[in-house]
Amino acid sequence: MTSRAPEETFANAVLAADSLPDFRAVVLQPVAPAYRPYAVTAAVLGWLVPLGAVLIAWAAAAAGLVPAALGALAPVGFGALLVIAMINAVFAAVDARRRAWALREHDLIYRSGVLWRRSVIVPFARIQHVETVSGPLERRFGLTRLKCFTAGGSGGDLTVAGLDLETARRVRQFLLERIRDGEDDGAAVSGPHEAPNGADD
């Protein structure tokens, strides 16, 4: 039988689980304050189209272009849609408050979700490339998304939403340096780095 030398050396170094650093002990940094108004605006904008459609139907019914029954239903529909849009906006605001992130020495942590919550931890050594993306609305609020790609298909992508431009730039730069360091060393482990965590900002 053959052996896999590096892994076997590594295997001897396994520590007791309770002596390992616990990701739960990390104090996470909330996303940029501008993310909340952005999320609420985006949630409301998404409902403008159906609301507009109902308004048009209402106007058309008033003008006699469509059956009057439809016109009678329009206020009910408009009210229902408005309530849904408002709930959605409140939900987006709560969701924005729950979103948080942190950089540790060797990984990136991102927490999101209100009812269905998710914490994702990506080791720097596993990130293949990083990119920042921002839509027109995000740019208006001075926000950007940071996308980290790892192996494992689409399930292996992490999107950190709600970073301000400067933080996203610094994190991206930091991650790229860590990826390069890892490759230069031929190993994932490298010396301690100054983490550009939001807390330093």
């Binding site: 590096p6 892994e7 590594f10 295997a11 689980a17 390992l20 080791p123 494992g152 298909g153």
Partner: protein, 510 residues
């Protein structure tokens, strides 16, 4: 070897490769359009409307287009084997040129279809971690050339080790190198006999998929020819059998079942027999196949996990299948499919083979169960959904509706089914290798090193949080592995261990 020669030049495929290209293009066309054609009886309506002559004309046109496409593809196809890479130029409408470094290749396959055998030609293909499908295919190249490329690919690491380039993946330490690499003969790891391979075929799920397709096609043919004399006679014969009771019906059903199983077993024999798995140190080689001889070469250092699988029939027959897992860009590397590195025909006593394929992995004697709340969660929701459906059906259609009986049966079977599913969920951490088991009637045991973890996710719903539970998701190069209903502390401990392993491993990105 042309590549070491200074007169390196782009090479073309031999004319016989055209046969392969046409056959493959037709297969692809049929595979991609069969569902559309058969779906919802559209094909039947189409044939009825146009008539047989028009359909045949259309089919001829399709064949013509496919053949013309294959000819253009063949004429334009060029490849060049360099010292450390292979380059390919191809494409019909869009020209594509790609260069694949040998150090990136994770497995190589040599196929020898019947029609290429007399010419001493083989079909060569390779896969890299970035591609969902085979990245390079060279159909109909001389066996000697294919073997030389294969040996270069496998030797790429050793060669790279001497001239280690910083930052290059080739600088990885040569894992798995042993005395066997230096001239000693390869070790035979597994050689199942004819019977084992046949049993593998019996237990393969493919038999039932094929049976489903055959039944569907038969149904369509039946509808088309229902009025013809032969079909009327067949129907009356079948009706006679049904009315004669179980005594004549049972042998008939038995014969159909036996025929299906025999077909499955024979298909496995055709594909695998005489199967041999050899350990060449840095690479594993699986070979076999009666009509098309296939040889799969897997680079050991590119293995990201192993899976042992047993279908429900396989469980009855005591038959396992082992597969090596590798990186897939579509995250579906965990699926054991036609192109996987499959080791067929394992018995319970052969399971130690997993440790030879994936060093460090030994099937654990026991598994840690997931939380029992998994059962109550599924039971309550299952009952609610099924009784809801049942109530709706009874209220609208009455007891006569065809779905009432199956739904009632499902209601009765729900508790044992949920219990069985829960019992199969389990995990075990053996030093650095973690095993995850799941299944219902069959079972699947996946093993991977914690250091392979690319990302750790902890997901929770309000229900799970109320009971202090989470779903742990480990993203691996081959795809996602999930462990539902773990206690928060247990999941966090596993997550911390996985992160520690991934962050301290001296292993490069895949």
């Amino acid at each position: 070897m042309p590549t070491t020669d200074p007169s390196d030049a782009w090479q073309r495929l031999p004319p016989i490769a055209l046969v392969f290209l046409v056959v493959r293009a037709l297969q692809k066309f049929v595979r991609e359009n069969l569902v559309v054609f058969l779906g919802a009886g559209a094909g039947v309506a189409f044939v009825e409307r146009l008539g047989v002559r028009e359909v045949l004309l259309g089919a001829s046109l399709v064949v013509l287009i496919v053949v013309a496409g294959a000819i253009i593809y063949h004429r334009r196809f060029r490849f060049l084997v360099e010292d450390d890479a292979v380059r390919v130029r191809r494409g019909v409408l869009e020209r594509k040129e790609l260069r694949v470094r040998f150090s990136r290749v994770q497995n190589v396959q040599l196929g020898e279809p019947l029609y290429l055998r007399p010419f001493g030609l083989v079909q060569f293909s390779l896969e890299t971690p970035g591609a969902a499908e085979r990245e390079v295919e060279l159909p109909g190249i001389p066996r000697r050339l294919a073997e030389e490329i294969r040996d270069r690919i496998v030797g790429a690491r050793a060669a790279a080790g001497a001239a280690a380039t910083p930052g290059d993946e080739q600088a990885e330490p040569a894992a798995g190198s042993s005395a066997r690499d230096i001239g000693s003969p390869p070790a035979l790891l597994h050689a199942p006999g004819r019977v084992r391979v046949f049993v593998h075929g019996l237990s393969s799920n493919q038999v039932w998929v094929v049976a489903g397709v055959v039944l569907y096609v038969l149904d369509l043919v039946f509808r088309q020819t229902a009025d013809s004399l032969a079909m009327t006679q067949l129907v009356s014969w079948l009706e006679a059998q049904f009315s004669a009771g179980w005594s004549t019906l049972l042998p008939l059903v038995g014969a159909v079942l036996a025929g299906l199983l025999a077909a499955g077993g024979s298909a496995a024999l055709l594909r695998f027999h005489p199967y041999r798995l050899h350990d060449h140190g840095e690479r594993l080689v699986g070979s076999g196949g009666l009509l098309e001889r296939r040889e799969q070469t897997l680079r050991r250092d590119k293995l990201t996990g192993a899976v042992l699988q047993q279908s429900p029939v396989g469980r009855l027959l005591g038959c396992w299948v082992l597969a090596g897992l590798q990186t897939r860009s579509d995250g579906r590397g965990g699926d054991v499919g036609q192109h996987s590195f499959l080791v067929p025909g394992l018995r319970a006593e052969d399971l130690g083979l997993v440790g030879l394929l994936y060093p460090g992995a030994a099937v654990p004697a026991r598994f840690e169960p997931i939380h029992p709340r998994y059962r109550s969660w599924w039971l309550v929701r299952g009952f609610l959904v099924v009784t809801g459906l049942l109530g709706l059906l009874l209220a609208t259609s009455g007891r006569e509706h065809g779905a009432v009986l199956p739904l009632t049966l499902l209601l009765v079977l729900l508790p044992p089914l949920v219990w069985l599913r829960w019992r199969h969920w389990g995990w075990w951490l053996d030093r650095t290798v973690i095993w995850v088991r799941r299944g219902l009637f069959g079972q699947r045991l996946e093993a991977f090193e914690l250091a392979q973890v690319q990302q750790v996710q902890l997901r929770s719903s309000p229900y799970l949080r109320r009971h202090g539970l989470v779903r742990l998701v480990l993203v691996l190069p081959q795809g996602l592995v999930q462990l539902p209903f773990l206690s928060e502390d247990r999941a966090a401990a596993l997550a911390n261990q996985a992160l520690f392993a991934a962050e301290t491993a001296r292993r490069h990105r895949v």
